[in-house]
């Protein structure tokens, strides 16, 4: 399976922990549909690890779904989600135990992959923090990757591990997504590390981190996180009880320009055009368009500049750059030297850039 653009997902793995049940999951799924998430491209719902029983079947060794919690089988829950245009994602472990203490897949990779396929699972978010210390993480990821392939090769495989070897080798393992921290520490979006930048490519994408939201959402912070993730061509996972989020937050999460930049068909990573913490990221988009994100990660207002020269504009171009700010703002301007704007602390701004012939010049 080729994962050519980053998937967008809603998760309750951290918000509900192991306290999920069938009604809560379906309530979230209906909210995804009713509040515009599905329309915006969020196609996965991660229900965490609380769907399982604490122990495997003593005879077959198979995973067991807690059907009293789910009010049915895992497969029937997946089918109900599918009817709403949503795919089922779960949290698993490549080690001995999942984050909330449910059975891990270590030594059971092939039978678990078969279980996922039989029960309609479309994505696994696999944590490696409980992997026995004297094992090779990349080999273990490769094993699950191979097991998923043996069972139809239709499940998105997302890895959370702080293994030093992960960046260079992840692409050869069969994983589709990787994050460089364990699942328990993967909340909050980070800039892709410089040494990771070139390795985030279609088919094996770097995950900048999951966005975990409580009831009081800092909109400035959320906008910055979403812009960084979208620019990095990172999967976006929003871990929240989306039924209780305010409309402004939902509107940010489902912003059509943010999701369009995130899932752009070329799936190129953005380039930092100046160093953090006050930076501009530039991303080449499909169809001769560009996205520029201004990000102020300091605690004071800063003036941030982006230069047409750095984008590649030359004196023979006879072009200006048309800038069109989006995400809650509608502001247009043109520049041929630089675009400078003051940004409040932790602020961010997203622009579409296109080239435009200078007035009066005809091709």
């Amino acid at each position: 399976m080729v994962l050519s653009v980053p998937p967008l997902a809603v998760s309750v793995a951290r918000t509900f922990g192991d306290g999920i049940d069938g009604d809560r999951v379906l309530g979230i799924a209906r909210a995804m549909s009713d509040r515009g998430f599905v329309r915006a491209g969020y196609r996965y719902l991660n229900i965490g690890d609380g769907w399982a029983k604490k122990e495997r079947d003593p005879e077959s060794g198979s995973l067991l779904a807690d059907e009293s919690k789910l009010a049915g089988s895992l497969g029937s829950l997946a089918a109900e989600l599918n009817s709403l245009g949503i795919r089922l994602a779960i949290v698993t472990s490549g080690g001995t135990r999942t984050p909330n203490g449910f059975p891990g897949s270590f030594g059971h990779e092939y039978e678990d992959a078969s279980f996922y396929a039989e029960n309609g699972v479309s994505m696994i978010a696999q944590d490696f923090s409980s992997l026995p210390r004297r094992t090779d993480t990349v080999t273990m990821i490769r094993r699950t990757g191979m097991a998923l392939r043996a069972n139809g090769d239709s499940i998105v495989y997302s890895v959370y591990s702080d293994s030093e070897d992960l960046t260079k080798y992840i692409r050869a393992t069969g994983a589709h997504i990787y994050h460089l921290r364990p699942f328990s520490r993967a909340s909050g979006v980070i800039f892709p590390p410089k040494e990771t930048h070139g390795y985030s490519v279609p088919g094996s994408l770097f995950n900048c981190g999951d966005i975990v939201l409580g009831k009081d959402v800092d909109k400035t912070d959320l906008k910055r996180s979403l812009i960084i993730a979208a620019m990095a061509s990172s999967p976006i996972t929003v871990d929240a009880d989306i039924t209780s989020l305010d409309d402004e937050t939902v509107s940010l999460l489902t912003d059509p320009d943010l999701t369009a930049v995130a899932t752009d068909a070329e799936c190129r990573p953005a380039r930092m055009m100046s160093p953090e913490p006050e930076t501009v990221m530039l991303k080449v988009l499909d169809g001769n368009r560009y996205a520029a994100a201004f990000v102020n990660d300091t605690d004071e207002t800063r003036m941030i500049s982006f230069y047409a020269h750095d984008m590649g504009l030359t004196r023979d171009a006879r072009r200006v750059v048309a800038a069109d700010e989006r995400v809650g703002v509608c502001r247009k301007c043109e520049f041929s030297d630089d675009l400078s704007l003051p940004l409040e602390k932790k602020g961010s701004a997203l622009f579409y850039l296109t080239l435009k012939r200078k007035d009066g010049e005809v091709k």
Partner: protein, 373 residues
């Protein structure tokens, strides 16, 4: 434009250097179309260095095709190539001059891209010579990428900075579709083995949209031509080269004289099963298995298949080992590998360690599929 799988084509450099003209290109286009290369996927006919003059047109500032090579201009060549169902590629350079001291595109990127678009260029190889010493290479490549995209014509942008400046870490972000990762290839064993060995641990950055280019293939040159070194390579050595290029998902840009190349090399270069591995839609990177000196590579393919390449660089035949455990297959998995030798069609099965006989200075390419025991 999204380049989903490695581009395939032919380039003037390896065989002709600067000694080519319109007639050679027409005959090459004929050979690509008539000898089965185009049907196998080789679609780009690319003119390398030395095709333009040392100065620009004083009025239009455009590049000038060399009249000695192209008395009728470049447009009839492009039309002829397109008429054969092929695509047309040319060469330029980020610097003020090309590596062969002809006009480069420095500070004329938009002028050149606009002209390339008008004459129907589908592929641009962009070299790295004679740029200002203090210039920023990344910015120079970004310029031509911007200009090509602005020109409105879908053009493969093949950056050729020889692997300098940690190119793998930024080249995808500037919009390039391929990137050369090493210095130039020569038609000898050391040259191409040095090239691929240097890239084994850098292949994680190569994928759909932007591919690591190991340079033009020398298979079939038989020691002659511009990059020939009078070393006559064996069929087995050429087999190693082509199998590595396929396994590493490198662009397949031929450099031999396709008009006259021997049928046995034409057949190797057009081997559908090898090309199928090169063009696999997942474009995953291969990974080495076994111990340090072992040249055994595995690669996951779309649909659950795997490819295994075993390379024997020694002068003696040997049994090379491959342990399915290393690719994630365990004894208790309930699966075994059903394997086909891509080159000779032999089939066998394996769930435990395999010992594969490989002739001296030769290779075996296997394609495996997981099947239940």
């Amino acid at each position: 434009m999204i380049v989903k799988t490695p581009p395939m084509g032919w380039n003037t450099w390896n065989t002709f250097g600067e000694c080519y003209n319109e007639e050679v290109l027409r005959e090459t286009a004929d050979a690509l179309a008539d000898r089965g290369f185009a049907e196998a996927g080789y679609k780009y006919l690319i003119i390398d260095d030395h095709w333009v003059m040392e100065h620009r047109d004083p009025v239009t500032h455009r590049l000038i095709p060399r009249p000695g090579k192209f008395p009728n201009g470049i447009e009839p060549v492009a039309e002829y190539v397109h008429g054969k169902g092929l695509k047309f590629g040319v060469y330029s350079c980020v610097g003020a001059r090309t590596c062969g001291a002809k006009m480069g595109s420095f500070e004329y990127e938009f002028t050149d891209a606009e002209w390339f678009s008008e004459i129907g260029v589908d592929y641009l190889k962009h070299d790295y010579c004679l740029r200002p010493e203090k210039s920023d290479g990344e910015t120079l490549y970004r310029r031509m990428s911007l200009a090509l995209r602005d020109s409105g014509r879908d053009t493969v942008f093949a950056a050729c900075n020889w692997g300098c400046d940690d190119v793998w870490s930024w080249i995808r972000s500037i919009g390039a579709h391929t990137y050369r990762s090493t210095g130039d290839i020569c038609d000898n064993f050391k040259s191409f083995t040095d090239i691929f060995r240097s890239q084994v641990f850098k292949l994680g950055a190569s994928a759909s949209g932007c591919f690591n280019d190991l340079d033009m293939i020398t298979v079939g040159m038989d020691g002659e031509g511009n990059v020939g070194t009078s070393e006559l390579l064996t069929e087995g050595v050429y087999r190693i080269q082509f199998c590595v290029w396929c396994m590493f998902a490198s662009p397949l840009i031929l450099g031999c004289d396709v008009r006259t190349v021997k049928d046995k090399y034409r057949d190797l270069l057009c081997n559908r099963e090898l090309i199928r591995i090169n063009q696999d839609s997942e474009c995953r990177s291969p990974f080495p298995v076994g111990f340090d000196d072992s040249l055994v590579f595995c690669r996951l393919l779309d649909g659950g298949d795997i490819a295994v390449l075993l390379i024997n660089v020694n002068d003696n035949a040997c049994n090379m080992s491959f342990l399915p455990y290393d690719i994630g297959l365990t004894e208790e998995s309930g699966y075994k590998l059903s394997i086909k030798d891509v080159l000779n069609g032999d089939t066998f099965e394996a769930s435990d360690i395999m010992f594969v006989p490989v002739p001296p200075k030769d290779c075996r390419m296997l394609r495996g599929r997981l099947v239940k025991k």
